[in-house]
Symmetry: C2
Subunit: 238 residues, 2 copies
Amino acid sequence: MADVSQQQEQQPANIKPRQLYTIWLSPFARKIIVQMEEKKLPYTLVQERIWERRPAFMAMNPAGQVPVLVEPDGQVICHSSSIAEYLEETETAVSLLGNTPYQRAETRRLVAWFDQKFQLEVTRNLLDEKIFKRLMRQAEPNSATLRAGLQNIHYHLDYIGYLTEQRNWLAGETFSLADITAAAHLSSLDYLGDVPWADHMAAKTWYARVKSRPSFRPILAERMPSLPPSAHYLNLDF
Amino acid sequence: MADVSQQQEQQPANIKPRQLYTIWLSPFARKIIVQMEEKKLPYTLVQERIWERRPAFMAMNPAGQVPVLVEPDGQVICHSSSIAEYLEETETAVSLLGNTPYQRAETRRLVAWFDQKFQLEVTRNLLDEKIFKRLMRQAEPNSATLRAGLQNIHYHLDYIGYLTEQRNWLAGETFSLADITAAAHLSSLDYLGDVPWADHMAAKTWYARVKSRPSFRPILAERMPSLPPSAHYLNLDF
């Protein structure tokens, strides 16, 4: 996570930067953070303990989820796919969707793949089970659920390898929101040490390229209280 | 479902219309059908028995899901959110997202609400459990799952009522993809007779307005083989 006070110092004193409500290790918030970094947008992060269902936060987003973006004029934008499209529409100096309707459709297909299919088959079974289940419902992880997540991740890492053998980046020749979304999910699982990189060299090579981008630094700097990251989380040559 | 041969007859003989791969009662395919009807686009429907995982279909969409759109030039576009954005970008005579970035963000927030939150909490527990589980895995519905779906639907119908008390349509003053998405999910559940309209008058009034639009006729005409719709499915004054 970018240091909040540092971020604020980058701003002229009279302009309030946009705020992003986030919680540690949320792949959906990480996606927006990297997107804003790629576009070189100033922002501040607000940690929201979503499991407390704070009334003022629920009033902003009745779904009770992060990320939520609050613009300098006070407008509130909820849901990571809505925020991502909004930033693409309004901050156009760097495009992360692609230059043609077909290219954008391919980027969006892969964003949905990782935010929905990977999320249901892998992220939910590992990250939600180990971290958010404990925080939200004070329950222990279910071992069958964890096994399913650890099994399903291989198929997706193979798919990343397959795509990068055909293309420079996941959705085509240029770096896009598809790479950001896939890497956001994998980075949170990598924090837990749950990504079997050694079995998937093509995916590992792709991830090393994403990880070395300056836009990924706030992700690598994030620390969850009382849970240190896996040994290789920060290592660019893992 | 629109009659396939009728749809073809509307086309000049030398232009191949776009094809939409669908399956009965899929809310995600219904969303795209209504969107194309609102935009008055010609199309043909192709029924795809997705549980057979036909190799030629899996090659088009490795996720194995409908809808899939095939353009006259052969380009393939997968995933309902990717198709919806593509049609908004390329067929601009009728806009279903809204006129400002904030308005579009609000529409997309609600599209995601129904396609993801409502899908997980309601549609999956009822439609997937009753219909697709049988087709795909030859398994019987789980009664606890059905009960969860029937309980969760009340909260969402209340939310529709709340929104339509503040606004003309779900996302604002104009009919949008938010209305289409919510109505697509509810229409499939209504086919099964699983929507407790009598307890939610504001949501019922809103749905009656959606149901009476010409764009909704192919949805009301759809029939799943050997499963007739609920008694009031077709009735505009239900």
